[in-house]
Symmetry: D3
Subunit: 250 residues, 6 copies
């Protein structure tokens, strides 16, 4: 079976991570996975939400917002929030991003501050939610380093690295990292979030008007693990040699 | 390890399904799983959403709404929709319910009509989303039978039965069907939706400020399969002996 | 003149009040009046709205919410609050319920806490607002007793019982307790809220594209008083023999 | 008992109705009742709401909007609709105005057009909802005449005149037409809408943290009838001698 | 070139300013410019918005709200705020009014209080935003005098008078104070806000599907200055001879 | 007087226009003016808004949306549209962008299609609205060329080029193209939109808690014209040598 772009079944799309894309946030990452492009940034605020302050004083908070910018698709998408509510899909995705990155954080070590990860989709070609997680991790790690460099925290509040990838079954064949054209044809669509040490943070496998067997599930997870390993290397290279980052990938 | 209510690790809470709870909808099911109580009903409308009409004329539609009624919790919850937006959690859940049941449907056989599954939480003690799916399937099956009995459709648009169950890891131990007290203590929380024939429709496994291994994932899926089988029997009993329902569980 | 269900003109529909329908709220009442079914619950919160705190510190508050659940009607109703505003009808009804029950309360004796009465319509066949008041009174009385039993209040903050009934003129004939089929045919529609001692709390008489005379008004009030007396007996029986409740009906 | 402004118990406040206050709507009425001032206008649109078109083609529609302008009170009120929802009070009032005036209309004779009655409160000193009805009737009658004069309708769609007044019990004494200072002190507050021929359209009597007897109800209605008769004369004078209006008051 | 109402190119429409239109706000001004009628009132509140309190404690605030009342136009306009958002046009106008009047204020001298200028359009025939500014200035000046008379402030917080006028190019000819019929035909539409001493506060010149030259701009500004001078005289007359007001126009 | 970044008073900040920033919209332009960065894109849809279709069938439409992305500022801004309404500032800006570019368009030549200009602020350092117009013109011109190349239109619907620049008075000195640090210190703030041939489209000059004279106005316009000429050259270079674009700048 030949994939439409000639890739192997267990091969990621070309992935490019550019740091310092803009200057205002604590960290500003442009991530490109094939034709999917996101701007993932981390902004630090020296306060926490009121409920957090009340329930767990002293702890920090990490949250995410996700938005498909209108020009990221052809035809143009409506700008969410201009009329009526944010879609369920958007809410689901930004909850997933926030939850996945909090799983890697020691919020006590972060101290009473909030890091907001803004994931803006500039171009959409499948896999925007997993690419958002992979890019937002890099932004989050840089923001933590910046706090350390400024003497605002003592220890790295991140426990390990986080990356995410999509896998799916198309025409009965399991494959890694689906662009839009494969995504719409997939009978099973699975998003996997893992740590650099190979543990699961989140597995979401959905039969799209279809069902799947234990065997299919197993083979999808094998592909996902392979993809996460490749992503880890690219994340590591993007962050550079600094000893602050090294333990996160071990 | 003793569970707080004395159950075995692979044992469901007592489950009770009552049909014909009220008279107005096409099917009205009261489902009680331990101290979690939901009213799942199916209403039939002889039209489809406009986008469906345009994109796939002739096909039917199945959708779900989910709501935690304010008195379902202590302390009382706010009534969603009175100020501001529906929460991301609610949207996520009702999207999951709708998607899971559509996976079992042949929308062509349903014809140009909409079945809406309203899942009202009357009492919440963990597992409301999975109990909603298990109960909504019974309501959906009865609504399909009613369409058949009225001569509005010829064949059963349902391909198989659907049930859902939660599993989780608490204090390092995998267990089935978590009430609230176990749910908040769980390091891993997984919701599994399956067909009566043992195929997956949806697997959502989340590390709650934690991560999990392949081994834990595997043992959770074993428990889930066991639970789904037990649920199937109770669903089957609730629906009765009619030959319309029998093939759904095979 | 024969009523469609064979009742006398001054006869209530069969009325059934079930207490302890669910476990989470302070009181949980299922009330069935003919084919109209509501779940009326009372939840207690140990605080009051901010404006109350500021303007009348030390006093308590009683408020109500009313909702027609989508499956309560055929065809299904839209779920209010999912798009746009709550309807004027719903707001009017929940304001009426709250106002009617506050008329019976000594909010000083209640102390700085809020009791919220949630009136969920499970099945609608006319008279939902009056049935809500009749059922919510039972829930409120039980919630007050619970506060007394827990030593949180010393005296019963309720001064007397409250019940409500609809009356109307159909084809020139005044009649009691109108189901939907009579309600839509009524030229005059009147809702009457009274105390157990026969005093008025609220009278709302509306000519529906029609007008009415003093004589019609008088005869409707006679019927309403008869109905309220019957409702009082059923409320009293539902609450039981406890001396806490007895003075409310005298 | 002396009223604060020296009026008799059955005496209206000075009432002034000015027609042709502005030029744009079909009719523009400024009504002043004591220190309560409203601008009531009638605008005609040659179409009806979509639901009306579908359900009762050929018939017309009459609707009302009511708004307390911010500068109508001291201190200034918030402008409704700028944040969040329209209050329940506003919705209740504009539903009452619309319903009361539709009770006097033959919507078939109006034909497929909508008359909107905008009731803007310029100064609020109690009785704004009843003054709105009394003024809006004058605007509606003039708008109907204009349609007749333009040959758009053949017969007057109004069947009779409509006026409204508030009555209440203050310190145990029933009295007519309460300004704000009496209104806040009233134990019972009743709004009565009647036709020029002395029939009721709407009676809304509310015990404000209080209850009332049949005797009090009766004496309030006597006062209300007296007030409505006085209002009819002022309405009649404002409309002028035209034979189009005369039958409405008989 | 003959204007449709016979005016000279540099002639204002007849302008009438009536003070004390209603009693509740601190100042209540009815302003009529040709067939455009607005009610401009000033309400004083003894507090400032929270952000003002935090950022500039001790200073006062002046803000404006603008609303086209539905009956101000033929056909009737929708009431803004009943469904969805306030239009961009309304927001733009009320921001302009507030900004223009704040330019004339010393907010330190005002002290920690808010003056809200409500500009209600009763009849719309072009120039509503400029007429709002001209009328709101009169209301603001009276409100300041009232504060002075009550001993709440020592010095007049107003530094100078403010008035506004529209100018435009119709069929290649520059003209002053455009009613609706000229406004829709204008290729260039300019609103000019100036002080009584001839300084600019705001110039907004828009080519309506057109462009304009420096020469046209210059000739429009000449007309605007002439108009503002005439407006100043009418404002001055409306405010009366009091020495409090005199310095504002010098 | 030395400007904080050493620029001359009539000197623009370094301006960089990159075309083809992303692939999905018809045209995708990244524009950087000093430290202000925007992504301006043009998306084409083969339909027009319903009101346009009804009122001016056959004509096209050009509209704009503007959004400050949260990470464009330090500290992070709230994402507009997630709670409550779009701010008045945002609405004002996107109305200005749309109006300015429509002034250059022949909507009849565009035919029944909509071009939407999305202006996303990636980094904000003053002048975002003028930079948006300058960048959106380039995107609009490219989108028109694309329509021509595809044979969808025959003639260029653009009549001339459009650019915009801010000017202001800081410490009594008029200067061109203000970054944030100068903008907050400016007593007068003016935005000027002009055609490539030196005609005005829009002039908006605001005294910020200040006023200005005719002389100041004149000197600001001289600076603005100088700036627009420089912008035209950069726009022209960005668009390239194609004869489609040349006449727009003459």
């Amino acid at each position: 079976m030949q994939r439409h772009d000639g890739r192997e079944l267990d091969e990621l799309r070309p992935l490019l991570i550019t740091t310092d894309f803009t200057a205002s946030p604590a960290s500003s990452v442009l991530i490109r996975c094939g034709d999917t492009i996101l701007w993932c940034s981390a902004s630090i605020e020296e306060s926490v939400p009121r409920w957090m302050q009340r329930e767990e004083p002293g702890k920090g908070w990490v949250t995410a917002e996700y938005m498909m910018l209108p020009a990221s698709t052809t035809p143009r998408s409506n700008r969410e929030g201009r009329r009526g509510q944010i879609s369920g899909r958007t809410q689901e995705i930004q909850r997933l991003i926030g939850r996945s990155l909090r799983a890697a954080m020691n919020l006590n070590k972060l101290g009473p501050r909030t890091i907001t990860l803004d994931c803006e989709v500039l171009q959409a070609d499948g896999g925007t939610r997993t690419t958002a997680i992979t890019g937002a991790f890099v932004a989050l790690a840089q923001a933590c380093k910046r706090l350390k460099d400024q003497g605002l925290i003592e220890e790295n509040p991140l426990n390990f690295s986080v990356a995410a990838v999509s896998v799916g079954v198309v025409d009965g064949v399991a494959m890694l990292d689906l662009p839009y054209v494969e995504d719409v044809a997939a009978a099973v669509d699975m998003n996997v979030v893992m740590t650099g040490s190979g543990r699961f943070i989140e597995v979401q496998g959905t039969g799209e008007e279809a069902t799947y067997t234990q065997e299919e599930l197993d083979s999808l997870l094998v592909l996902a693990k392979k993809g996460i390993k490749d992503l880890n290397q690219i994340q590591r290279a993007a962050l550079g040699e600094d000893p602050f980052y090294a333990p996160l990938f071990e």
